[in-house]
């Protein structure tokens, strides 16, 4: 559904996005992760047809997106910094979207009122930040877009509303095969939502994987040996991270689980455990690999 090929974008002298390629299949939820300033917003704005890329191609549903009304009618972009016309109410905004998007569903709009307890005729500018975001989601879901591009969408929502929105998203994807690309610097926020993950660092995609694959391919192990760690032990492992706690060696390794286990058993460890690894940890170690200060990423 979304096909990005070698996209490059510079601002003044800064390369915000460097030769990024990614692919998002129809009906999937793609999580775009990265630290602040990694280029997430720039990439998403290019996907939404707001920015024009300097090089490369962006196709949505097989068509280029920039200045393409056909594509944009099926696409909805929710920016991290929301914008509403000054002095408008939700009712007026709904009218505006009704005019602009042929897929607008009046029925859906009415039904969603239950989910979003907002006054139709209240000026959106007078609402709190969280309520404004709810209003934006309400309008976005009522458009029933084929593609939704969400930039840090859950900021400012309380836990209940967060779950509600997530549920609505999953439901839309399940029912209508909507495609979602969602950015976040907060892993936990999207961990349970995405089926694909891409990590953007300094404008480049450093990792792009299917969620399940990601979790099965990286393992946290702790091992101890009688008489210390064999000198050749680590050479056979693809260790991303290692740490020695007394006689116990803690490390994070990549590779198929069976192969790693078989390899370690050769050395006859006294202790050998495969520990559960959160997505957050994977992220930290992956980013650590590209030389980023780990502490700053986690939220």
């Amino acid at each position: 559904m979304i096909d990005v090929r070698g996209v490059h974008k510079e601002f003044a002298d800064v390369e915000a996005v460097k030769e990024v390629s990614l692919h998002v299949a129809r009906g999937s939820i793609y999580g775009l992760l990265g630290s602040n300033g990694a280029g997430k917003t720039t990439l998403l704005k290019m996907l939404a047809g707001i920015y024009k890329q300097d090089r490369g191609d962006i196709f949505i549903g097989g068509e280029p997106v920039f200045e393409n009304t056909n594509v944009k009618q099926k696409l909805l972009f929710l920016p991290d910094a929301l914008y509403f016309f000054p002095q408008t109410t939700i009712r007026q905004m709904a009218q505006f979207y009704r005019d602009l998007y042929p897929s607008w569903s009046e029925e859906r709009f009415t039904r969603l009122q239950e989910a979003f307890p907002l006054a139709l005729d209240k000026k959106i500018h007078r609402m709190s930040k969280g309520m404004q975001r709810q209003a934006a989601f309400w309008l976005a879901f009522s458009v029933k877009p084929e593609v939704m591009i969400l930039d840090e969408p859950l900021d400012g929502l309380d836990a209940v509303m967060r779950q509600k929105v997530k549920n609505l998203l999953v439901q839309e994807v399940a029912e209508r095969q909507m495609t979602v690309i969602i950015s976040s610097h907060n892993l936990r926020e999207v961990e349970d939502l995405c089926d694909h993950i891409g990590i953007l660092h300094q404008g480049e995609i450093v990792l792009e994987k299917e969620m399940d694959e990601l979790k099965t391919d990286v393992h946290k192990i702790q091992v101890a040996f009688r008489g210390g760690i064999p000198s050749s032990f680590l050479t056979g492992l693809d260790a991303v991270y290692k740490e020695q706690r007394g006689s116990v060696l803690l490390c994070i390794v990549r590779g198929q689980k069976e192969k790693v286990e078989a390899y370690i058993h050769q050395f006859e460890p006294v202790i050998f455990d495969v520990l559960p690894l959160t997505l957050e940890e994977i992220f930290v170690y992956e980013m650590g690999g590209v030389g980023y200060a780990i502490e700053n990423i986690l939220v």
């Binding site: 009304t69 910094a81 016309f85």
Partner: protein, 657 residues
């Protein structure tokens, strides 16, 4: 395409009405205040006897209308395209399924409506009010339509130009500022370039180009002139064309503009160097002009160029970077300096041969010679004749040769454009060629060094004839002559006497040397000639006109016409080694009082000597080395003059060396 343009209008128009609609209302109210309200005010104040003559709608409130025409559209352009200038709104608008072209025409159309509707409504209301019996108001339906058309044309021009500027910048405040700069730019840069060219090229005649009504290309000045001068057809076409070009250029730029240009001073990276070098260049010219006019030296001009260009570069860079810490950009400034030095030396060393250019003598139809360029172009439309015409066309072969030779000499000498002083005079030399081409040069030169050239031209009969209106054949008969000096007046009405006087006067004028023409020693007073057609001609009665003196003496009129030696009891000559200006000395009562008792002065009582002193005393020069006070019999206060050293009577020089 049109169907696409209008297809989404409802929702956007609603938004526009909510956000920008107020400008339309303000526009209408302002126009109401400027026209219908003004008509009512005039109507009600008629009773008090106040009824100004109103010949067209512009006359009702000219300046106010101008203010409306050049503020409302600029404001409107800023607000209609305000969404482009903030990040959130531009991202939002460009994420919607609307093409930029659609958005652009939507916004333009909306803006145009906010301009057109109030103007039309005002016109209709004014038409109704024209039915009121208002004395001295002559506004026809045609006037109303003309007003609406011209007002709209000006407003639409201002609007589209401001939109264009808005596409080039990403900051609304700058959009407003740049819009006004754009209106002034063509005239401003022309003036700056022309004035600075004078410093670079010897003989460059900036005045000639400046006289071409440059102010007419400043739109608001042109607007104010609409009262008297409706837009000519070519002007209408020009404004309409400019409006269309601005619109299309805006759209072209909009399509190429990045959304992220919002809040950037210059929206297109490619234009940033152009902007900063342009500002630097303009500042440089201003600096050169300022120091050129105040200090008149090449050193100061260069200082002005460097100092002001630095300031300009700093300002431009600070605007682009939105910080004043821009010192890292010095390399760009260095590039500018190098480029300017290269271009400047092209001009200065005159690669086009401008300074040396002179048409072939055989191609010249006539030459222009004078002190200012203004008569060069305007000869035809002159409706008042001055009695002394120093700027004129000459066409005798001899004079063409004389002027040509003068110019040749000036080309060789390359006089500095900065010369100034009492002895420096401007000289303008122009050529009209046989093929109709024109060429003009202006120099400032010390007269003394070019005496022979001046003599040859100004003492020629052709020049004299043009110079003194009295010498021309088409002068209507003179009915009366009044000779007027400070204290005395003589009138001559006898036709025979008039004829004889005029013959002497004409001889005097024909024989007058050029030095007396441009800087006479002094004048006794004026000679007024009353013509049979009621016109009056005035000439100065110069002290050098010895034949007039002789004639008056012979007719027994001299003592009635002016102060003579008989009126003077004695005179005192005092040396003024310090060359204190005369007016300062006279202000000092001690100096005046002591003068009569001082021993280092010369007291003159001899009538013949007094007469010579009267003839040579001058009041033009003030810082002379000799000062003379005439003590007249009938007056208590002396009359002060100076004596020029060159014409100083020998007896004074002998006794007061």
């Amino acid at each position: 395409m049109p169907s696409k343009i209008f297809s989404y209008n409802r929702s956007l128009v609603m938004q526009n009405v909510r956000n920008v609609g107020w400008i339309g209302i303000v526009h209408l109210l302002l126009l109401f205040a400027a026209i219908p309200l003004r008509m009512l005010m005039i109507y009600t104040s008629q009773k008090n006897g106040y009824s100004p003559v109103i010949r067209n709608v512009f006359e009702l409130s000219n300046a106010f209308q101008g203010l409306i025409a050049f503020t409302v559209p600029v404001l409107l352009a800023i607000f209609v395209f305000r969404y482009l200038q903030t990040k959130r709104s531009v991202d939002y608008m460009h994420s919607l399924p609307l093409r930029r072209e659609t958005l652009f025409w939507q916004q333009m159309l909306f803006g145009v409506l906010l301009l057109v509707i109030p103007v039309i409504v005002t016109m209709l209301v004014a038409a109704l009010l024209c039915q009121l019996p208002i004395e001295n108001m002559h506004i026809s339906a045609g006037d109303l339509v003309r007003w609406a058309m011209e007002m709209l044309l000006m407003e639409l021009f201002a609007f589209s130009a401001s939109v264009l500027v808005g596409m080039l910048t990403g900051i609304s405040v700058l959009q407003g500022a740049f819009a006004y700069i754009l209106f002034l730019f063509p005239a401003g840069i022309s003036v700056l370039m022309l004035m600075n060219m004078r410093y670079m090229l010897s003989g460059f005649s900036a005045d000639y180009y400046l006289s071409a009504n440059l102010e007419r290309i400043v739109p608001f000045i042109r607007f104010v002139e609409l009262v008297d001068k409706p837009l000519a057809a070519f002007e209408t076409v020009r404004y309409a064309l400019a409006t269309v070009v601005c619109c299309l250029l805006s759209l072209w730029l909009y399509k190429r503009r990045h959304s992220e240009a919002a809040s950037q001073a210059i929206a297109f990276a490619a234009l940033q160097p152009l902007f900063s070098f342009g500002v630097t260049f303009c500042f440089m010219l201003v600096g050169g002009l300022y120091f050129g006019e105040t200090q008149r030296s090449i050193g100061w001009i260069l200082f002005g160029y460097v100092a002001f260009s630095l300031v300009g570069f700093f300002i431009a860079s600070a605007i682009i970077e939105k910080t004043w810490r821009i010192f890292h950009r010095w390399k760009e400034y260095a590039i500018f300096i190098v480029a300017i030095i290269v271009i400047g030396s092209f001009v200065r060393f005159d690669i086009t041969g401008y300074e040396k250019r002179q048409p072939a003598l055989s191609d010249i139809k006539r030459v222009y010679f004078g002190e200012s360029v203004y008569q060069f172009e305007r000869q035809a439309e002159e409706n008042y004749i001055s009695y002394v015409q120093s700027d004129q066309f000459l066409q005798t072969t001899q004079n063409i040769k004389n002027v040509y030779a003068f110019h040749r000499q000036l080309i060789e000498d390359r006089p500095t454009p900065f010369a100034f002083g009492e002895n420096i005079r401007p000289v303008v030399i122009g050529y009209v060629l046989k093929n109709g081409e024109k060429m003009v040069r202006t120099y400032s030169i010390p007269i003394d060094e070019y005496k022979p050239f001046y003599e040859a031209i100004m003492e020629s009969m052709e020049y004299k004839h043009n110079y003194y209106f009295l010498l021309q054949d088409n002068v209507s008969p003179i009915r009366q002559i009044t000779i007027r000096t400070e204290a005395k007046t003589v009138q001559i009405a006898d036709p025979k006497q008039i004829e004889s006087f005029l013959a002497v006067l004409k001889t005097e004028l024909k024989e007058e040397p050029f030095t007396e023409m441009i800087s006479p020693i002094d004048e006794w007073g004026t000679i007024e000639l009353l013509q049979s057609d009621g016109g009056q001609m005035q000439l100065s009665w110069k002290k050098s006109y010895a034949r007039i003196d002789a004639w008056l003496k012979q007719q027994g009129l001299l003592s009635k016409a002016r102060v003579t030696a008989d009126d003077v009891a004695y005179a005192i000559v005092v040396k003024n080694e310090a060359r204190t200006p005369l007016y300062d000395l006279v202000e000092n009562p001690a100096f005046v009082k002591e003068l009569e008792t001082r021993t280092d002065v010369l007291r003159i009582t001899d009538k013949r000597q007094l007469d010579e002193c009267l003839q040579k005393a001058s009041s033009y020069e003030t810082k002379s080395r000799y000062i003379i006070a005439f003590y007249r019999t009938a007056h208590s206060e002396p009359e002060w003059h100076v004596m020029d050293e060159e014409t100083l009577p020998s007896f004074i020089r002998k006794q007061l060396p």
